[in-house]
């Protein structure tokens, strides 16, 4: 079927190629170079969807991203909601339909790739229209690194929508020459289809590049569909152009009503006429050019309605020559029609000659003047100034690193735009440290500048009929009318920010590009204040919508967050381990045998550790090497107990508190030499503790001779646990005397393991399970081999690999707390029952003073205790609350504490839990209750140490 509104010639489209697409179920064709909007218009389709509140038909108002109405849902190639038809490039096979305000997210994973890329430049130019191109060329000729981004599929900006001449040449040719030179200049990056959507501090600009969207089904699967450019520019030139502003009148939202400049763009860029018979309503000269161009192309332009008392004589004469009637001093007071405008009501303004009349037409082109696109300048913290001639906010004072050129400043004629581009490019290059040489004469536009200044009109005077709904729409997408604005001011709202929130104007996908200025004008008019005294609403990123997929980029799936693994990870995977995420680490959680569930596996692993021998990969523990003469006294300040008295060759457990006295970490401290220690931290706190040390060393005690170095990943660390641990160790460490007398608890030895030609190892006799245990440390290079050697050496003792769950059960049976599980930054060592680890002798250490605070000495603090469910089969959920009564009183229910750890114990042959409970240690033997679902589970409070209270097992 032929596209009846496509002209036989003209436009920047490839007429030799037909693209088939479907809209609202109807098959149509268009051409490469079309947007969905231009292809629809070519096929005579103006109505896109219906409005979100009132269900009114809505069409295409603008030709670009400022369009407030043409929201579509893309169904194929991949579902994507809330795109404007004016920004969707047409491709073969596109399936779309118009949206009533809300779209549908895909319910299948998006197969496309997205990424981000950093780029640094001396000068960034946003906008490749005439001003931007000259700015970029000027800067590039100076030798700097220049990046040019432009939203459209090709450079040219406003020139794409005109047929202007620059000197003797059509402006398109001039654009092509500049783009060719830019692309050929080393250090220059020209990015089209790229929208700068956010300007941040220090020259940081985010831009979204739509790299393959226009290829549709032919988009290569291995190319990033969209890319977020993270641009760091020393200088930025904003040549972002201007948006045409409508005028508000009754029934101004019907399909077929379009901005005049946009209609001109559809003509020149796409070879499309917006209809058959048009009325033009304007407040300024620019719409005359649209009328003349469109009439020349075959549109029957019935009349130009000019709100100014007198028409510009030259332009009016050119209209008359084409048979276009010009009515000055008139306005459009309303429209007729339903799914498409069918007539326009015209009336004289008071004081003008003429009579009200209705003119039949299928198209109404409107121009209320132009708004400079100041969004990015405002985001860059540039101040805006109201220009009463333009009726728009324009950039105020330039910023040191951000300049504005072209119609974004309010300059609306091409020659001025070119000159501004030259000046901005030159200034930016100079500021960035380059001295451009550019002696080319700038061309001069063949188009006349405005004959006559425009008038500023936010809305046509007049009120809706009594009782009739207001159809004077300000924000089409939000269905907000003049009455809505007046309701806001009547309610006492004075600031534009408040009116925006009250009316929702400017909060849709288009962020009020066509409605914001009008709202400001209406509010000022209503309040009787000057717009120069009104603060415009804040412009926030993104300038145009950006999908979350693009923002996520490559950081999804397996790359969403780093997965940290130990050298032994492949072995754990091969052995069928399930993994627990601890921070970014993957730690083996448990190693089920075929057919085992978690409980069974953990009970088996626990039994092995208590009765035979078991092996764990604890390489993720943080390890910090400390060297220097003052390490001992430094550690005395950091830990609650005394470390300087530790003898070389020995190990001590230590607790670390913040200045507030709350536990922040714990671990072992090993004295390697007089002036050298090695401390371990919990897995999750390795970096935090190193930072904590550096903070004190660098900022508080720089005089101390202490150097802290992370060796977390240098060492692989394997606890070898259980009564048979000594036998296994003896088998693999032939030089080591493993007898209890020669190698006692809390001692370490260096030795060489019988692996290959020998692997040096440090063996620490520490235990986090209460059993005889050795912690074997070798370099991560040897970790896998030594792990395998330990498994082999332990085979005849039934050595069992175990994971974090078993480790948790074993330590909980012994009442050992885990920082971050039993503690939550409100727990002191005393609360944990660890006063034994708090020095009474040291004059000071971090946290000491806080222990004496009244709050921290209250007898009713929450204290760590054990809980034994009366029914030994009931396992309490971790995090459950503890209450004191067997029946819940009316809320608020007094909470005594909560369950911090809860397990099934092989050794105890029952379930048990740890909990922090108010005055817990005074409640030993009491029955308390834990709400689980609708039940109150009775539990007996007990000591936190439930297994081997005498500590008899640690020597094997």
């Amino acid at each position: 079927m032929s596209a009846t509104f496509r002209l036989p010639t003209g436009g920047l489209i490839d007429r030799d190629t037909a693209l088939r697409f479907t809209f609202n179920g109807r098959s149509m064709t268009g051409h490469p170079g079309d947007t969905l909007a231009s292809a629809l218009l070519a096929n005579g389709v103006h109505a896109i969807g219906t409005s979100v509140r009132y269900g009114r038909p809505r069409g295409i108002v603008a030709a670009g991203s400022e369009d407030p109405t043409s929201l579509v849902q893309i169904e194929r190639p991949f579902p994507e909601p809330m795109l404007t038809a004016t920004t969707v490039e047409l491709h073969d096979g596109l399936v779309a339909y118009g949206l009533p305000g809300q779209g549908r997210l895909a319910d299948e994973p998006d197969p496309a790739r997205y990424d981000a890329k950093h780029v640094h430049c001396d000068v960034l130019v946003v906008g490749a229209g005439p001003a931007g191109l000259v700015a970029a060329l000027t800067a590039a000729r100076g030798g700097g690194r220049v990046v040019v981004v432009d939203e459209q599929d090709r450079a040219g900006g406003a020139l794409l929508g005109t047929r202007e001449y620059l000197g003797e040449r059509l402006s398109q040719e001039w654009v092509a020459d500049i783009v060719a030179e830019l692309r050929g200049t080393p250090g220059v990056l020209v990015l089209d289809r790229t929208t700068a959507f956010g300007v941040y501090q220090d020259g940081f600009v985010l831009a979204l590049q739509r790299r393959t969207d226009h290829l549709g089904f032919d988009a290569p699967a291995d190319a990033a569909r969209q890319r977020v450019w993270r641009i760091r520019a020393r200088q930025t030139v904003l040549a972002t152009g201007a948006h045409e502003r409508p005028v508000v009148f009754a029934d101004n939202d019907r399909p077929g009503i379009m901005l005049a400049g946009s209609a001109r763009t559809f003509l020149h860029r796409y070879g499309v006429l917006p209809g058959t018979r048009a009325v033009v309503f304007t407040t300024n000269d620019s719409a005359y050019r649209a009328a003349i161009d469109l009439a020349r192309a075959g549109l029957d332009v019935a009349t130009v309605v000019d709100a100014r008392p007198a028409a510009p004589s030259v332009l009016a004469a050119r209209c008359s020559a084409r048979g276009i009637e010009v009515r000055a001093g008139h306005v459009v007071t309303g429209t007729e029609g339903d799914a498409r405008v069918t007539g326009v009501r015209i009336a004289p303004l008071p004081g003008a000659d003429g009579t009200p009349e209705t003119v039949d037409c299928d198209t109404l082109l409107v121009s209320g003047g132009w708004n400079p696109v100041v969004h990015l300048f405002s985001q860059a913290r540039g101040m805006l100034r109201y220009d009463s001639g333009l009726g728009a906010f324009v950039p105020g004072e330039e910023l040191p690193t951000v300049r504005v050129a072209g119609s974004a400043t309010g300059a609306l004629d091409l020659t001025s735009c070119l000159r501004q581009g030259r000046a901005a490019g030159l200034a930016a290059a100079l500021a960035a440290g380059f001295a451009p040489v550019d002696e080319d004469e700038l061309p001069v536009s063949g188009e006349r500048t405005d004959e006559q200044p425009g008038t500023v009109m936010w809305r046509v005077p007049g009120e809706p009929r009594k009782g009739a709904p207001d159809t004077r729409f300000v924000d089409f997408q939000r269905d907000a009318t003049v009455s809505d604005v007046l309701r806001a001011t009547d309610a006492g709202l004075r600031s534009l920010e408040h009116v925006k929130r009250y009316t929702t104007i400017g909060t849709a996908h288009d962020q009020g590009k066509t409605s914001g200025m009008i709202t400001a004008g209406l509010v000022a008019e209503e309040l009787g204040v000057e717009l120069s005294e009104q603060r415009p609403t804040t412009f926030r990123p993104p300038y145009t919508p950006v999908s979350f997929a693009a923002l996520a980029g490559r950081d999804r799936g397996e790359l969403h967050d780093p997965v940290r693994v130990t050298a032994q990870h492949p072995w754990h995977v091969a052995r069928g381990a399930l993994f627990e995420d601890v921070g970014q680490w993957k730690r083996p959680w448990y190693f089920p045998l075929p057919g085992e569930d978690m409980d069974t596996a953990v009970l088996r692993e626990c039994r092995a550790a208590r009765e035979g021998v078991a092996l764990m990969d604890a390489s993720t523990l943080g390890k910090i090497d400390l060297q220097g003469r003052d390490v001992g006294s430094f550690l005395d300040m950091l830990y609650t107990n005394k470390m300087s008295s530790l003898k070389v060759g020995r190990i001590r457990y230590g607790v670390m508190c913040g200045v507030d006295g709350m536990v922040i970490d714990d671990g072992t401290v090993i004295r390697l030499a007089e002036d050298r220690f090695l401390v371990t931290t919990t897995t999750g706190n390795a970096a935090t503790v190193l930072d904590w040390m550096e903070e004190w060393l660098q900022t508080e005690w720089p005089h101390l001779d202490v150097y802290a170095t992370s060796v977390t990943e240098h060492w692989a660390t394997f606890p070898l646990v259980g009564p048979r641990a000594r036998d296994v160790l003896a088998g693999i460490a032939p030089d080591l005397d493993v007898s209890n007398g020669a190698f006692g608890f809390m001692e370490w030895r260096d030795t060489v393991l019988d692996v290959g030609a020998g692997v040096p190892a440090r063996v620490c006799r520490i235990s986090f399970s209460g059993e005889l245990a050795y912690e074997i440390n070798v370099t991560a290079w040897h970790g896998l081999a030594v792990w395998e050697a330990l498994m082999a050496a332990g085979e005849r003792y039934g050595i069992t690999p175990y994971g974090t769950e078993t480790m948790h059960v074993l330590r909980a049976e012994k009442g050992y707390p885990i920082v971050g599980q039993e503690t939550d930054a409100t727990v002191t060592p005393q609360d944990l029952g660890m006063s034994w680890a708090v020095s009474k002798k040291k004059a000071d250490f971090i946290g000491k003073r806080s222990f004496a605070r009244a709050e921290n000495t209250r007898p009713d603090r929450k204290q760590l205790v054990g809980l034994l469910p009366v029914d030994p089969q009931v396992r309490l959920p971790e995090g459950a609350q503890v209450v004191g009564t067997d029946r819940l009183p009316d809320p608020p229910v007094p909470m005594l504490g909560h369950v911090t750890s809860s397990y099934r114990s092989a050794a105890l042959e029952r379930t048990f839990a740890l909990a922090v409970v108010r005055s817990g240690r005074e409640r030993l033997g009491e029955t308390l209750y834990v709400p689980v679902g609708d039940d109150l589970v009775p539990v007996t409070v007990t000591e936190s140490v439930l297994y081997d209270k005498e500590g008899a097992r640690r020597d094997g």
């Binding site: 913290r381 200045v659 550096e694 903070e695 720089p702 003073r849 806080s850």
Partner: protein
């Protein structure tokens, strides 16, 4: 994405840094000699000015050095950075509004 000028490595993106709160809050000479209130002021109380504020930062993903910075809390602009032990630069000419 703000740049923070590390006194050693030069300007880097803020994600490389950790914030360390108000600068020049010294650990008390003798905590035991302080009243509960004096101690609580050290532990819990910090200034919260609208305007220039001396803070500590650590270039944690870079050289791991702590340093001081004066930041205008209204604009986020870093008015000065200086190494630990160095005196705070005189900003009297730069900040028109000192809180």
């Amino acid at each position: 994405m703000q740049l923070i000028p590390c006194p050693w490595c030069g300007p880097r993106e803020e994600t490389e840094f950790h914030y360390g709160g108000q600068a020049h809050v010294a650990y008390p000479e003798d905590p035991a000699a302080l009243t509960d209130e004096e101690w609580a002021r050290y532990v819990f109380f910090r200034d919260n000015p609208s305007g220039p504020f001396a803070e500590r930062w650590s270039h944690s993903a870079g050289c791991r050095r702590w340093f001081n910075a004066v930041r205008d809390t209204r604009t986020y602009d870093l008015l000065a950075v200086y190494r630990i032990g160095e005196p705070m630069p005189d900003l009297s000419e730069r900040d028109e509004v000192v809180s």
